[in-house]
């Protein structure tokens, strides 16, 4: 057990290094000179060789590639991600820190909606398999996976905001601003997890331990909740945990639809402004979160599931 955890931890290190290297490569692959881009973004009227050289000096671009990589990596580990091209007075870390709470709030609200809705719906779908509820939900899931998130957002904005006037359509601040964007983000995840729980439960229902529980004469409800649901939740919790970074990244589109002042809005405006350090750090952040959460829940799964433990 301990060996597995250690091995898994060690395996994550090269992966993290590779992720950071790709993020660093990213800014060096820009077809034009980053120093020139930075000057242009700051609306320098005439770009002289001198100014470019000074900017290169300031951004440390005149050093060899690997030296720059390790400088940058060391900076990242200390929480220094460089300065924004658009506004040199601001650090990238500061910009991200300003926008992170709004995104985390949105992601947390979406996660809560996903957890609260998908578990009972998935449960009911499995219990009443092929009944009317299951069939309706299957239809809803089918349609909802085909709907682009931004379109759902627009429809909700129109229905709830413009037509019924019960919820605000953009901006942030109160919990009422949170409802529409959070629901929009969660929609595609809800359908994924309903399907996952439903299929897991149906799979578990065929197992011998269910037959044994039936033979012992346990009441159906106890079998369903205490045995089947509990066992089905294992993989589901792991999948949900692993999807947290995806949820944080997935807000990017919805934030733009609802003008939510989070990381997604920052990222898109940075793309338009060619503010590469911000994009780079955002990608790095999400990549690292992805690796860390995968690792965490992978270990958690092995610890919590006795069947996986024995195989080790």
């Amino acid at each position: 057990m301990k060996r597995y955890v250690v091995r898994r931890l060690l395996m994550a290190i090269p992966l993290l290094a590779a992720v950071s290297f790709i993020c660093f490569m990213f800014i060096n692959l820009i077809p034009s000179n980053p120093a020139e881009v930075a000057l242009r973004v700051q609306q320098m009227p005439v770009i002289t060789e001198e100014a470019v050289a000074r900017m290169e000096e300031m951004l440390g671009l005149n050093k060899p590639f690997l030296v720059r990589y390790f400088d940058w990596l060391a900076g990242c580990l200390k929480g220094d991600f460089g300065i924004s091209y658009v506004n040199p007075a601001r650090t990238v870390a500061g910009e991200l820190a300003r926008c992170l709470p709004a995104t985390l709030q949105l992601a947390a609200a979406s996660f809560a909606i996903v957890a609260v809705l998908s578990v009972p719906i998935g449960f009911l779908c499995a219990v009443y398999k092929d009944g009317w509820f299951d069939r309706i939900m299957r239809g809803v899931i089918f349609i909802s996976t085909a709907m682009p998130a931004y379109w759902v957002g627009l429809l909700l904005m129109w229905g709830m905001g413009v037509k019924l006037r019960i919820l605000p359509t953009n901006g942030s601040g109160t919990w009422r601003h949170l409802i529409l964007p959070a629901f929009t983000v969660s929609l595609s995840y809800i359908s994924t997890y309903i399907r996952l729980i439903r299929n897991n439960m149906l799979e578990n229902m065929k197992q011998d331990y269910v037959l044994y529980a039936n033979v012992r004469g346990l009441p159906q409800r106890a079998i369903l909740v205490r045995h089947i649901l509990k066992n089905s939740m294992h993989t589901c919790i792991v999948a949900m945990g692993m999807s947290i970074p995806q949820l944080i990244a997935g807000t990017i589109v919805v934030e733009n639809v609802f003008s939510w002042p989070g990381l997604g809005t920052l990222c898109i405006s940075s793309i338009f402004n060619r503010d590469y350090p911000v994009i780079q750090t955002y990608v790095l952040l999400i990549g690292v979160l992805f690796v860390v959460f995968n690792l965490l829940f992978d270990i958690l799964q092995t610890v919590s599931d006795p069947r996986l433990r024995r195989e080790e």
Partner: protein
């Protein structure tokens, strides 16, 4: 052929395939089918109601919505298809190389795949578009770049599963060239898995490309792409919400169709699944 017969017997498969062909045909024949010029503006006639001349009304610049929808098939479906072919091509090439030649080649490719898969796909799309600049071509590159790893991994698994099968061993024993084994034995063996995955992913590609266009990072405004149309419709959300119905519904219909086709193809190609 047995497979063709099974395909024809599966009503969903036939219907969805026909529907997709029909849509593609409509896109190709857009100049003939579209009642009006998709770019012709008529500012006096903006937000026109449904009429014979404008079957779906007009948008905020007085352009015919139906014509724009029909012309929009070209970028929407076309780009998705190009993306899929690119992805499968690259994924198959690297997946087969990894699965077949093993050793150091496999190590390198598979570690690369691991790294690629450790980024959420959506973020990578944005990163690549940000890096290369906003253009249609870059949208395709971005989508291929993030998706090939999934295919490489799947195809490698498939190749590994078959490479030690008896028929492959026999082929090798009787002295068939490696190329023959690769293209005549291994590739056909994994085609069915590939077809299912690909048809499911076309829907994904359509949504992804239209999302980029919606955010202004893909197909640009005057071109009638469905996502770009929705971007324009967003501006008039409060005054004329009807504008966003047609392009959105078109996307949902097409994506649903591809998803259904994927499921149906799975049933056709793998009958064991259905019974089990």
């Amino acid at each position: 052929m047995n497979l063709g017969k099974r395909f024809l017997h599966n009503r969903t498969a036939v219907a969805t395939a026909l529907f997709v062909l029909l849509i593609a045909l409509a896109g190709v024949c857009a100049p003939v089918l579209a009642p009006n010029d998709p770019y012709a503006t008529d500012i006096l006639n903006k937000f026109a109601d449904y009429s014979l001349q404008y079957p779906l009304g007009t948008d905020q610049l007085g352009r015919c919505v139906l014509s724009r929808l029909i012309y929009g098939i070209r970028p929407t479906l076309g780009l998705a298809m190009v993306t899929m072919f690119g992805t499968i091509g690259l994924g198959a090439l690297l997946g087969i190389t990894a699965g077949y030649f093993r050793g150091i080649t496999e190590e390198v490719i598979m570690r690369l795949v691991d790294v690629m898969l450790s980024f959420p796909s959506q973020i990578m799309v944005f990163a690549v578009v940000a890096l290369l600049g906003v253009s249609v071509q870059n949208v395709i590159i971005a989508n291929v770049f993030i998706k090939w790893a999934w295919y490489a991994r799947m195809i490698r698994t498939g190749v590994m599963q078959y490479r030690d099968c008896n028929f492959v061993r026999f082929s090798r024993c009787v002295g068939m060239p490696e190329r023959f084994i690769l293209f005549r034995h291994l590739l056909p063996s994994i085609t069915s898995d590939l077809a299912v995955l690909a048809s499911l992913d076309v829907g994904w590609a359509i949504i992804n490309i239209s999302t980029l266009s919606f955010l202004g990072l893909g197909v640009q405004a005057p071109t009638p792409e469905w996502g770009a149309m929705l971007n324009e419709a967003k501006e008039v959300l409060t005054s004329n919400p009807v504008q966003m119905i047609a392009p959105g519904a078109a996307i949902v219909t097409l994506v649903c169709c591809f998803n259904l086709m994927g499921d149906a193809l799975r049933d056709v190609l793998d009958p064991k699944e259905v019974e089990g």
